[in-house]
């Protein structure tokens, strides 16, 4: 599929919404920050990496003129 890489955009939904109930019970803390909060903040970074990767692929394609 030509636009298969766009499915990376679903990852933030799974991480930040889908897994929110799963990580809610984790009691472990880093620098006293509650784990569910760390999880959501990590999710922001994951989202940035996913969207950024999709962008790089889209842009590389348009430069090759393959769009």
């Amino acid at each position: 599929m030509r636009n298969a890489h766009r499915w990376l955009l679903v990852v933030p939904f799974v991480w930040q919404a889908g897994l929110a109930p799963v990580v809610n019970g984790v009691r472990w803390r880093l620098a006293e920050i509650p784990f569910p909060m760390l999880w959501q903040m990590a999710g922001v970074v994951v989202a940035t990496i996913c969207i950024g990767t999709v962008y790089r692929i889209d842009r590389a394609r348009s430069r090759r003129g393959g769009a």
Partner: protein, 495 residues
């Protein structure tokens, strides 16, 4: 001194906005309402950030952290999900706008569905939601003024002055001035939030940021995970299902606010939009400091009745007057920068999709005049609404988001499915409103899935009805459908 510093910041920003806006002024509706479709990556990023980080966002999220705890994490979730979807959706909106010369969201509805009536419905729903949203900004502002300035500036006067400022600096020059004010606001806000956050631990008598987290979790067990310390852990009201479905509702609802269509149309090219979608979520990490300040406030000034006031009460309580003045100045910009864009969108909707539906082929100059007049009227209405209403900010916003969110299934399906019809969209909106507002229905959802966001259920009902009714009504013309057709798009443009 507090008042003087705040006034200086606000007036300097308004003046700067006017100068910046005037440089680009061309006197057309497109120029005024959507910056002539010429915003590059940087200004486009600030324009978006301007609409994400508002008085509500800052006061509401710190208030959530203060009153409950973990539910405030939704700030991290909703921005990333909005832009993960936005990466896909915004370029589509932008292409349709460029191809068909659209300026408002209701223009899109009218053209894509080939129905002037649906355009009017979309415009009216949009105007109502935007008015509530302006009201939220003004309510946040009046709260801020009453806490930070005390009796130096009466609340009513502050609300009226803020509304006048919102109108004043975009009336002549339009969206570009609003983008400038948004940029000043965001730079100022980041600096202030960092200063406050690092001073917060000291202000509550602790050594470090970690100590604030440790202490608040000792004193308020359960604050770090859903549903927060204030509810029974078994209470679904702010539990994980609420969290996930509310975040989805916000991500979907965000894009169908009319002003975000106009912001999308303002981009110069697709890459400005995509780059913004990559970098916008990272900014939401700044909410770490907002949550921290909410927790610090809980330690320093516990027991406040209005949780939205927590952050500001803490600031007024713990920091010197000059710093309070800077915070107040930035806080006022936090309300008037997004507020002006909302009012501008209302003005454009009225001129193009309400006035324009009655009198066809309105000339550009008349359109601009009607837009400006409508903007002034809308500001006056929002002032009256603000002075008469005192509900909690968050309740109002989630309500408005859910209501306007009923346009989301039609918008998203219109880019995916050629067969969607005006009647389908209309029936979906009506069914969605019913599912959202009728108590027997909302009780039923809560019985089936306790804690689920009613707005989210309404979206599902809306989407199902939209599809069913579309299948049995006549499809829009091929010409109408073509404006949302990506295969015709000059999809990728070089940098």
């Amino acid at each position: 001194m507090t008042l003087a510093i705040a006034t200086a910041i606000v007036l300097a920003t308004v003046a700067g906005s006017l100068v910046y806006g005037t440089r680009y002024r061309r006197g057309t509706v497109s120029d005024w309402a959507i910056g002539g479709r010429r915003f590059g990556s940087v200004i486009f990023w600030f324009m978006n950030a301007g609409e994400v980080y508002t008085t509500f966002a800052i006061l509401g999220i710190s208030g959530y952290a203060y009153a409950a705890g973990a539910p405030a994490y939704i700030a991290f979730t909703s921005v990333s999900l909005s832009y993960a979807l936005g990466y896909w959706l915004m370029p589509r909106i932008w292409h349709a706008g460029r191809r068909a010369g659209l300026i408002t969201q209701a223009d899109y509805f009218e053209r894509r569905f080939g129905s002037r009536a649906l355009g009017v419905v979309a415009a009216l729903v949009g105007i109502a939601a935007l008015l509530v949203y302006v009201q939220i900004q003004l309510t946040g502002l009046s709260l801020m003024v009453s806490i930070l300035f005390g009796t130096a500036l009466p609340k009513e006067a502050a609300v009226i002055i803020a509304a006048v400022l919102m109108v004043a600096y975009v009336l002549a020059t339009g969206l570009r001035s609003a983008a400038f004010a948004a940029a000043v606001k965001d730079v100022l806000m980041i600096v202030i939030v960092l200063v406050l956050a690092f001073a917060a631990a000291h202000a509550v008598g602790l050594g470090s940021i970690s100590d604030v987290f440790a202490t608040v979790q000792d004193k308020y067990p359960g604050i770090g995970s859903l549903p927060g310390y204030a509810s029974d852990p078994a209470d679904p009201a702010m539990g994980p299902l609420w969290f996930a479905t509310s975040a989805l509702s916000i991500a979907l609802g965000n894009w169908v606010f009319p002003h975000l269509f106009q912001v999308s149309f303002a981009a110069r090219d697709v890459n400005s939009i995509r780059r913004n979608a990559v970098w916008q979520p990272l900014y939401s990490l700044a909410y770490f400091f907002i949550v921290l300040l909410g927790f610090a406030a809980l330690l320093a000034v516990p027991g406040l009745k209005d949780s939205n006031a927590a952050l500001l009460t803490f600031v007024a309580h713990a920091f010197p007057a000059w710093l309070v003045g800077v915070v107040a100045g930035a806080g006022i910009l936090l309300a008037i920068a997004p507020g002006s864009v909302l009012l501008l969108s209302i003005g454009t909707l009225v001129a193009r999709n309400v006035y324009g539906a009655v009198r066809r082929d309105v000339p550009d100059r008349t359109g601009l005049r009607v837009s400006r007049a409508a903007m002034i009227v809308a500001a006056a209405v929002a002032v009256l609404m603000t002075l008469a209403d005192t509900r909690a900010l968050l309740t109002i916003l989630l309500y408005a988001y859910s209501a306007i969110g009923q346009l989301a299934p039609a918008v998203i399906l219109s880019f995916l499915w050629r067969r969607i019809t005006a009647w389908g969209a209309f029936a979906g909106i009506v069914a969605g409103f019913a599912a959202l507002l009728a108590p027997p229905l909302t009780d039923a959802w809560q019985a089936i899935a306790p804690g689920i966001d009613n707005g989210f259920v309404a979206l599902l009902v809306n989407a199902a009805v939209t599809v069913l009714v579309s299948l049995v009504t006549r499809a829009p013309s091929a010409e109408a459908v073509s404006i949302a057709d990506q295969s015709l798009a000059i999809d990728e443009q070089s940098d």
